[in-house]
C-alpha cells in the first residue's frame, strides 16, 4: 500500500514535470499533420501518415519523453534529493518508465483520434500494412522501456543513455544518414534484416539526440517550450533522414519518388470497365558510386539493380496500389525475376499476371489479382473457390496443348477437350475453345475444340493475312493485310469495317473500338466507320470509353471526343 502511494506521488511529480512537453508534442504533431495535409493535399494520404509520419512521430515523442525522464531530474539535482527519501531505485524507475509508457499511450490515443478525423474525408489506408506497423511501434516502446530499465542500473542518466544506446546509435546513424556507409555490407544486412531493428536504431538515435539535447538545454529550463523546441529540432533531424526511404505506400503517390530517375512503365493494361489500369513498371536503382540504395521496407532494388513491379491504378481516384505478394517478399534477391500482365477477365474483376521465378521455362507461374485489393488471389487452377469469392463467375484457364499431330484443348483441372488435326494457328478467341487456323485450302477456319466443330468463315487467301486478332468479346476478327485493316464478324465472316489503310494497335476492351496507326496519324475507329483522331505519341491502348496513353513517366486517359484528359498515374 505504501509503495502504491509512493508510486502515485512519483507519477504525479512526473506528470507535472513533463506536462508541457507532452502537450507541446501533441499539438506539434497535430500541426504537422494538418499543415502537411493543407500543403500536400491528397499526396499526404493515410498510408503515408500511418506508415511513416505516425511511427516517426511516436518515436520522437518517446525519445523526448524518455530522455526527459532520464535527464531532467539528474540535470537539475532533484535525483540526488529524491535519493534521500525512503525510495528504492527500482521504485523510482518503475514510476518513470510507467509514466513514459502511459504518456505515449495517451499520445497514441490522440494520434489515432486525429487519424480517424482525417480519414473521414479521404480514402482508407491499406489495412494489410497496419499490423506490422503496430508491431514496429510496440518494438519501439519496448526499446524505450529497456533503455529505461538499463538506465536504472547505472548511477547517472547520461552514461545510461550512452551505454544503452552507443552501439545502436552509431549503426543507426550510419544507416540513416550516411549516403555511403563505410561498412556497407554489415549495415545493409542490418537495414534489410527486419523492420523492428531498423526502428530500434532510429529510436536509439533519437533517444541519444534528445538526451544530449536535454542536458544541453537543462540550464535554460525556465521556459518549458524551449526545451520542447530542442526536442523538435532533434526529432526533425531524425525524421527527415529516412524520407528517402518512404514506404511504398499503396495509396501514396510518393511511393516511387526515391526511384524517379530509374522509373519506367513497360506495360499499361486498362480493365474492360475502365476502372483500373494495370501497370508493369521497372525501377532501376539510382547508383551512387558502387552502392545501391535500398528501401525501408526491405526491398532492395534487386541484385541486378532493377526490379519489376506491378501497380494497379484506380482511374477515378488516381490511387496506386502496388501488387503485394508477401509470400514472395524476401530481402535481397527476390525469387521473382519478372512480371508480365496478362488479360483482364471480361468483367474487369480479375487480372491475370504471369511471374517468372527462375531461369527455366517451367518456372513461369500464372496468378490472379483482385484489383480492388491489389493482392494475389490464387494461382490458376489451384482453388477456384477463392476466385469465385472475388469474381461472380470464376474464370477458367485452358490452353491448346500439342500432342503429336493433334491439338488438344486442356483445362487447368486436368480435363481435356476434343483433339483436332494440327494446323497453322492464327489466332485464339476469348470464347472458350475457339481458335482460328489456316486450312489446307488456304481458307480461314474457325474451330471449336469443345464440340469439335469447324467451319470456314469465307476468307480466301489466308496466307496473306498477318496477325489476325480477335476482339476481347470474341465477336470480331481484325485481319491485317497489305491493303489495310479489315474487321469481320468472327462467327460468319461478314465484313463490318474496311479495308482501311492502317495497322491495328489494340482492340478496345468492349470490342467496339480499335485504334489504328496509319502513317504518322493515329485514330480510333468504331465499327460503323466513325473515326476519332488521336494525338501523336507512343502506342496507344484502348479503354472502354476512352484511351490510355502510355508514356515513360505518365499514363493519361482521354475521352473519345478529346474533351477530357486525365493524368491517371505519374512517376515523380
Amino acid at each position: 500500500m505504501i509503495t502504491l502511494r509512493i508510486l502515485r506521488a512519483l507519477w504525479w511529480k512526473e506528470a507535472r514535470d513533463h506536462r508541457v512537453l507532452v502537450i507541446t508534442c501533441a499539438l506539434f504533431y497535430a500541426a504537422i499533420l494538418l499543415g502537411a495535409k493543407l500543403v500536400l493535399g491528397d499526396g499526404f494520404d493515410a498510408n503515408l501518415r500511418v506508415g511513416y509520419v505516425h511511427p516517426a512521430g511516436l518515436l520522437v515523442v518517446a525519445a523526448a519523453l524518455a530522455a526527459e525522464a532520464l535527464a531532467h531530474d539528474a540535470a537539475s539535482g532533484v535525483e540526488v534529493t529524491l535519493a534521500r527519501l525512503s525510495l528504492s531505485r527500482r521504485t523510482l524507475w518503475t514510476a518513470k518508465a510507467s509514466f513514459v509508457l502511459a504518456a505515449l499511450a495517451g499520445f497514441e490515443l490522440f494520434a489515432f483520434a486525429l487519424e480517424h478525423a482525417l480519414r473521414a474525408f479521404e480514402p482508407q489506408a491499406d489495412t494489410a500494412r497496419l499490423a506490422p506497423l503496430v508491431a514496429w511501434w510496440f518494438a519501439a516502446l519496448v526499446v524505450v522501456a529497456c533503455v529505461l530499465a538499463a538506465a536504472s542500473l547505472v548511477r547517472r542518466a547520461l552514461p545510461a543513455a550512452l551505454i544503452g544506446c552507443g552501439v545502436p546509435v552509431l549503426l543507426g546513424w550510419l544507416c540513416l544518414c550516411s549516403p555511403r556507409p563505410p561498412f556497407a555490407g554489415l549495415l545493409t544486412r542490418i537495414a534489410v534484416a527486419s523492420g523492428p531493428l531498423g526502428v530500434a536504431c532510429v529510436a536509439a538515435c533519437a533517444l541519444a539526440i534528445a538526451s544530449l539535447a536535454a542536458y544541453s538545454v537543462a540550464r535554460f529550463d525556465r521556459f518549458g517550450l524551449r526545451r520542447a523546441g530542442a526536442f523538435v529540432l532533434g526529432g526533425l533531424a531524425v525524421m527527415i533522414a529516412p524520407l528517402g526511404w518512404a514506404v511504398a505506400s499503396a495509396h501514396s503517390r510518393l511511393a516511387l519518388a526515391p526511384h524517379a530517375d530509374g522509373g519506367n512503365v513497360w506495360q499499361a493494361l486498362p480493365s474492360p470497365d475502365g476502372r483500373y489500369v494495370a501497370l508493369v513498371a521497372e525501377r532501376t536503382c539510382k547508383l551512387d558510386r558502387d552502392w545501391p540504395l535500398f528501401s525501408r521496407d526491405s526491398w532492395l532494388s534487386s541484385a541486378e539493380l532493377s526490379r519489376t513491379e506491378v501497380w494497379i491504378v484506380e482511374r477515378a481516384t488516381g490511387a496506386c496500389r502496388e501488387l503485394a505478394d508477401d509470400r514472395c517478399r524476401a530481402p535481397w534477391a527476390s525469387q521473382r525475376r519478372g512480371w508480365s500482365v496478362g488479360p483482364w477477365t471480361n468483367d474487369g474483376r480479375l487480372l491475370a499476371v504471369s511471374t517468372e521465378h527462375g531461369f527455366g521455362v517451367d518456372d513461369e507461374r500464372f496468378e490472379f489479382v483482385d484489383p480492388s485489393e491489389a493482392r494475389m488471389i490464387e494461382e490458376f487452377g489451384a482453388d477456384e473457390a477463392a476466385l469465385e469469392s472475388a469474381a461472380g463467375v470464376p474464370p477458367r484457364w485452358y490452353h491448346l496443348e500439342v500432342q503429336g499431330d493433334m491439338r488438344v484443348l486442356s483445362f487447368a483441372d486436368g480435363t481435356h477437350g476434343t483433339g483436332v488435326a494440327r494446323d497453322e494457328l492464327l489466332a485464339l478467341s476469348p470464347e472458350e475453345g475457339v481458335y482460328f487456323v489456316r486450312g489446307s485450302d488456304d481458307a480461314l477456319l474457325r474451330r471449336n475444340l469443345r464440340d469439335g466443330s469447324e467451319r470456314s468463315i469465307g476468307v480466301a487467301a489466308a496466307r496473306t493475312v498477318l496477325s489476325p486478332r480477335v476482339s476481347p468479346d470474341g465477336r470480331w476478327l481484325a485481319l491485317q493485310r497489305r491493303d489495310g485493316l479489315t474487321i469481320l464478324d468472327a462467327h460468319d465472316g461478314r465484313v463490318v469495317f474496311g479495308p482501311e489503310p492502317g495497322v491495328l494497335v489494340e482492340w478496345s476492351r468492349h470490342g467496339r473500338l480499335a485504334t489504328l496507326e496509319s502513317g504518322t496519324a493515329a485514330f480510333a475507329v468504331e465499327l460503323d466507320g466513325t473515326r476519332h483522331p488521336l494525338p501523336r505519341g507512343w502506342p496507344l491502348e484502348c479503354g472502354s470509353d476512352g484511351f490510355v496513353w502510355r508514356l515513360p513517366e505518365r499514363i493519361t486517359w482521354r475521352s473519345l471526343d478529346g474533351t477530357r484528359v486525365e493524368t491517371v498515374y505519374s512517376v515523380r
Partner: protein, 297 residues
C-alpha cells in the same frame, strides 16, 4: 546515556585523500549539536554519511541504532534533512512538496505541517523556486519536521535568514525540538547560531573531531589573556599550548584551553612575563584556541 548518533573511527574519502580520517562522535538523544569546522573540513561529508548518502570506507556508524548505509531506507523515514543545496522541481509549491513527501513518511502529520507553517510563517501556496534563500530553508525545515523525525540533520540551513526571522525560527525550532525530544546535528559557520541553538558542539579539524562536548563547560575551559613582557615579544614562546592572537613589541594577546590546568599561574611563573591580565572570553575564543593553527609552543 542514549545516543542518536554514534561514530567510531569513520573514514570517508573521494579518492586517495580521505576527507574524514577517523571521526569519533556521539550525539546524545535530545541534544542539539553544532558541527563546526573550517570550509572543506568535511562537515557536509559527515552529514551525508550519517544520512546514508555516502558510504564510509571504514569505521562503525550507528544512527538511531541503524547502519546508515545498509539501512538507509529505514533510516530515511526517521530523519529530517534540511540542506539548502537540495533541489526540488521549479514548479513545486510548498504544499505540493508536502504532498510528494507524505507517502514516504508513515508518520507524516498534515495538521502538524500546517501548524508549523503558521508558526514559522511559511506560505503553503508559495513556490519553492520563488522563495528567498532563507524562506526556502524555513519551508524545507517545516517539511522536515512535519513527519516528526527522531533526528534532524541540518547543513548550514539558516545563512539566508535576516536577524528577526532567525530569532523567530530559532525560538520556534528549539521549542519544537524540546517538545518532541528530537535530536539535531547541524553544521554551521555561524557562532551566533551555535550560541542560540546548540547545547553541544563538535569541532572538526583535519578530518577528525578535535573538540566535542557540552557547550558551557567547554566555553568555561577557554581562557584569554593580555600578557605584558619584560623582553621583546618577537621571540617569546608561551609556556603552554596556546594560540597567539596578536603580538606587539612587548605585549601579546593569547588564548588557550585550560584542560584542567591553571593557565594564569603558568604564565605568571614565566620569568619573561611582567604582567598577566585575564580578558573576557567567548565562543570564538574557544574555537580559536581549539583550532590553534600555529601552535606556538
Amino acid at each position: 546515556m542514549n545516543h542518536s548518533i554514534e561514530v567510531r573511527g569513520a573514514v570517508v574519502g573521494f579518492g586517495a585523500q580521505p576527507v574524514l580520517a577517523g571521526v569519533d562522535l556521539d550525539v546524545p538523544t535530545g541534544s542539539l549539536t553544532a558541527l563546526l569546522g573550517k570550509n572543506g573540513v568535511g562537515k557536509t561529508t559527515l552529514l551525508r554519511t550519517l544520512g546514508g548518502e555516502l558510504r564510509a570506507d571504514a569505521g562503525e556508524l550507528r544512527v538511531l541504532g541503524l547502519d546508515p548505509w545498509r539501512e538507509r531506507r529505514a533510516l530515511a523515514r526517521s530523519i529530517g534533512w534540511v540542506d539548502e543545496r537540495a533541489e526540488w522541481p521549479r514548479w513545486m509549491r510548498v504544499e505540493e512538496h508536502w504532498r510528494l513527501l507524505a507517502p514516504f513518511h508513515p508518520t507524516w502529520d498534515a495538521a502538524e505541517a500546517r501548524r508549523l507553517a503558521r508558526q514559522f510563517d511559511v506560505e503553503p501556496r508559495a513556490k519553492l523556486a520563488e522563495l528567498s534563500r532563507g524562506e526556502r530553508a524555513v519551508a524545507l525545515l517545516v517539511a522536515a519536521l512535519a513527519h516528526r523525525p527522531k533526528l534532524l540533520l541540518l547543513d548550514e540551513p539558516f545563512g539566508g535568514l535576516d536577524v528577526l526571522a532567525r530569532r523567530r525560527v530559532f525560538s520556534a525550532l528549539v521549542e519544537h525540538l524540546a517538545r518532541a525530544g528530537t535530536s539535531a546535528l547541524f553544521a554551521t559557520h555561524s557562532l551566533a547560531d551555535v550560541e542560540r541553538l546548540a547545547d553541544r558542539i563538535a569541532l572538526l579539524v583535519d578530518g577528525r573531531v578535535r573538540l566535542a562536548g557540552e557547550l558551557e563547560p567547554l566555553r568555561a575551559d577557554a581562557r584569554r589573556f593580555a600578557v605584558e613582557l619584560g623582553t621583546p615579544a618577537a621571540d617569546w614562546t608561551p609556556p603552554l599550548e596556546a594560540r597567539i592572537e596578536r603580538r606587539g613589541e612587548r605585549d601579546v594577546v593569547l588564548c588557550a584551553l585550560s584542560r584542567g590546568a591553571d593557565v594564569e599561574a603558568a604564565l605568571v611563573h614565566d620569568p619573561r612575563v611582567a604582567r598577566v591580565e585575564p580578558l573576557a572570553r567567548d565562543l570564538e575564543d574557544l574555537l580559536a584556541a581549539a583550532l590553534a593553527e600555529e601552535p606556538s609552543r
